[in-house]
Symmetry: C2
Subunit: 443 residues, 2 copies
């Protein structure tokens, strides 16, 4: 019954990308397409609000001027249905955009069969699971539209920045034979008749590739079997991985902070409308970012009464209690204990208990790690053995170190955590379209 | 012993990104860094060729003008070692780039311990497995440098094109609960305590996302358990996936051919030096690409004496024998039998045995598939059942179809196959950095 009303596109195509119509186009005939966000009946006139990804426009349907077929179709409409409207633009001071569409014809392209189980206008319309179960619908909300448009600016401006800095984009395998940093958090795969794993990082590959391409980056998924249920961990995330030849960790910190400043500038330029919906300003950033040595931070924490010792990892909860740090936005923690960093991180020459490493923090959240890497095979093997890794399993990697791999350094930054920081999100799940965690595998 | 000669970067940094030095910079002091591609001893003078990702420059070391420490270091050098040279530029007509470096100081940053097992200058230096085992070294070859720089242009120009066309880049999960197109070619994963799979396509997600973002694209790995050993299949590949709301497959063919033309134009503009090493010109392209209906092609093949029937898939080997087709570069095959296309492909309204679908071919190689998609839930369910899929397993997907999903169409294009076509490669393995297939899981 209702199906009979659904029509094909046929020869109809949109006149414009957007419903965001200039009122000076008064009397121009257009075809708009989008989804219905509200229907209001004022007796002699009906208002249908049509949304597309740029905004919304009101379709004003006067009963006395409309054909019975048009009225019958509108009668069947329900919020979220996709429609096409052929009509004339009328500049109308009282309309939301100072313009509205007077419809001549209407096609129902796809009829919504149910009502949305959550409020689309609300900032917190429902529990996260309710929203996730109908994620594609949830994503029509203005707040999420804003977040994911900003996310696209982050992705594309990182790429532009790295291109300008002389990097080449690479893709490394996500199916790997051995764990990069120990096997605890890996997902195993049946790879034909063998066991393999999903890559938790492109680390070893990007290091190798500095031999051939010097400056490489990859933006790709990483996979971690995180057993914890928190608002800042995902089982599948996007990592922006950068590796550069002939530099050390200080150069890389300079590159990373420059990239963050570039990205925030681009969001301010390109996402003005989206920023309005966020409800909070972007972090203010200038280079250089503050730098704390790890040792210095441990002392600060001890003074603040936290029970921490040199050599401990910096716990999120403990950092959260340091008011000074949480008043900052981005800062670096440098020169970590060698023992708690991965095997490929280069120990300092004068003080090998410390290593040439950094974490980029946003308040108490770690969003990136980087370091100078070890380039001598014997030193790598020694560090692997100390960390209890099976050296033989890394043969395929170690053998290229016989052929003059250049000195190199790099970082990996978690895209979703960067988005959380920039957009002031509480839950990392809203920085990704379809989150994966210990409890969720669909949609 | 040799290790003692390896030095740290210290305060040294490159003066330029490239060794591709302008001879007019005569007498300017620079620091260059790169890998040694040859050492020639002419008695009183030694020539060291230093390569970086832009080219190479000759370092000319006169024995009588050089310190003993400099001479001693050069004595230890071996091809592929990474070095840094501080010296003066001298314009020199006989040098390869009309300029050379007169060294003042030299640092061996990383000493090659072994000689390369294959020839770096040769176009076919060794069997593919020998090269793959030392892939990072293999990638220093000029031919591969060219391919992967062109590949980067393909990636970045696709992204630029799609941005200009009003698309947003998305990332969809690679860990999924159910097969998209039947379960035959999936890699299973242990996902915590459940079974999951690696995504063979972002198909269902990109379709869903047209609800919220209308025009979406994703460039990401896809995973297929291909049991075949051929030169055109990989177990892990990069797919450029595009999906657009409010259009049909004809619009999408127009978009795809426009993208290919854009990409080839950009390679011609940006990769002049790299194109020289390819040894073959880029395919000439103009829009529209030729279009053959599937039915028409079957008739052509039958006339050519091939034993094919309407309803068969088009076999690579049989297509290869059609001289007319193989004289072309890119062309479309349209309106395929519904029965051999996936469940989400929309049957034609007038002739439901055919569907609104296309493959983009390059000679006899399929490089892309696209179609108008079904947007009615009942129709999707019917098609799933016909193809023997478990409808219940797609619940998470089907339920968003209750909320007014717009008409949509799209395509997926295999990046490596596109690179093969553009660069005239025989083996798809050279279009990817670290290939994965039934036999190869490392490096």
């Amino acid at each position: 019954m209702s199906d009979l009303l659904e029509e094909e596109l046929g020869t109809w195509r949109r006149s414009h990308y957007s419903v965001d119509i200039d009122p000076s186009l008064n009397e121009i005939q257009v075809i708009i397409m989008g989804w219905v966000s509200s229907i209001r009946d004022h007796g002699n006139i009906k208002f249908i609000m049509v949304n597309d990804r740029f905004g919304h426009i009101q379709v004003a349907l006067k009963k006395k001027d409309s054909s019975s077929i048009l009225l019958e179709k509108v009668e069947k409409l329900r919020e979220h249905s996709s429609i096409a409207v052929k009509g004339k633009i009328r500049s109308e001071a009282k309309a939301p955009n100072s313009a509205e569409i007077v419809p001549l014809e209407l096609k129902i392209l796809s009829l919504a069969k149910k009502s949305s189980p959550f409020q689309m206008q609300s900032r917190k319309p429902a529990g996260i699971d309710t929203r996730m179960d109908l994620r594609a619908l949830d994503l029509r909300r203005s707040l999420l539209q804003s977040i994911f448009n900003i996310r696209y600016t982050v992705l594309s401006s990182c790429r532009d920045f790295l291109k300008e800095e002389g990097f080449i984009e690479v893709n490394t395998p996500k199916i790997i034979a051995t764990a990069t940093e120990g096997g605890a958090t890996l997902f195993p795969i049946f790879y034909y008749d063998r066991e393999a794993f999903m890559a938790q990082s492109p680390q070893l590959y990007k290091e190798q590739l500095t031999m051939a391409f010097e400056n490489v980056f990859e933006i790709a998924p990483i996979f971690r079997a995180e057993p914890s249920r928190t608002n800042r961990h995902l089982s599948e995330a996007i990592s922006i991985d950068v590796e550069k030849a002939f530099v050390d960790y200080n150069d890389i910190m300079g590159l990373l902070e420059k990239m963050i400043v570039y990205v925030i500038k681009k969001i301010n330029e390109n996402n003005k409308t989206h920023l309005k919906f966020l409800g909070s300003a972007l972090p203010q950033v200038t280079v250089p970012f503050p730098r704390y040595r790890y040792t210095e931070l441990i002392e600060l924490m001890q003074k603040a009464g936290e029970s921490v010792s040199w050599g401990d990892d910096l716990a999120f909860q403990k950092l959260q209690r340091l008011e000074d740090l949480n008043a900052k936005t981005f800062y670096f923690v440098t020169d970590w204990p060698t023992a708690i960093k991965p095997f490929y991180v280069k120990p300092s020459n004068d003080q090998p208990k410390e290593c040439e490493s950094f974490d980029l923090m946003f308040k108490s959240l770690e969003i990136s790690s980087g370091s100078t890497r070890i380039r001598r095979k014997e030193e790598l093997i020694e560090r692997m053995e100390k960390q209890g890794l099976k050296v033989g399993a890394f043969d395929y990697h170690l053998k290229v170190f016989d052929y003059g791999i250049p000195p190199h350094a790099g970082f990996g930054i978690g895209l979703e955590r960067l988005i959380m920081s920039i957009c002031n999100l509480e839950n990392i799940r809203d920085a990704t379209l379809y989150p994966r965690d210990i409890d969720r595998l669909t949609p």
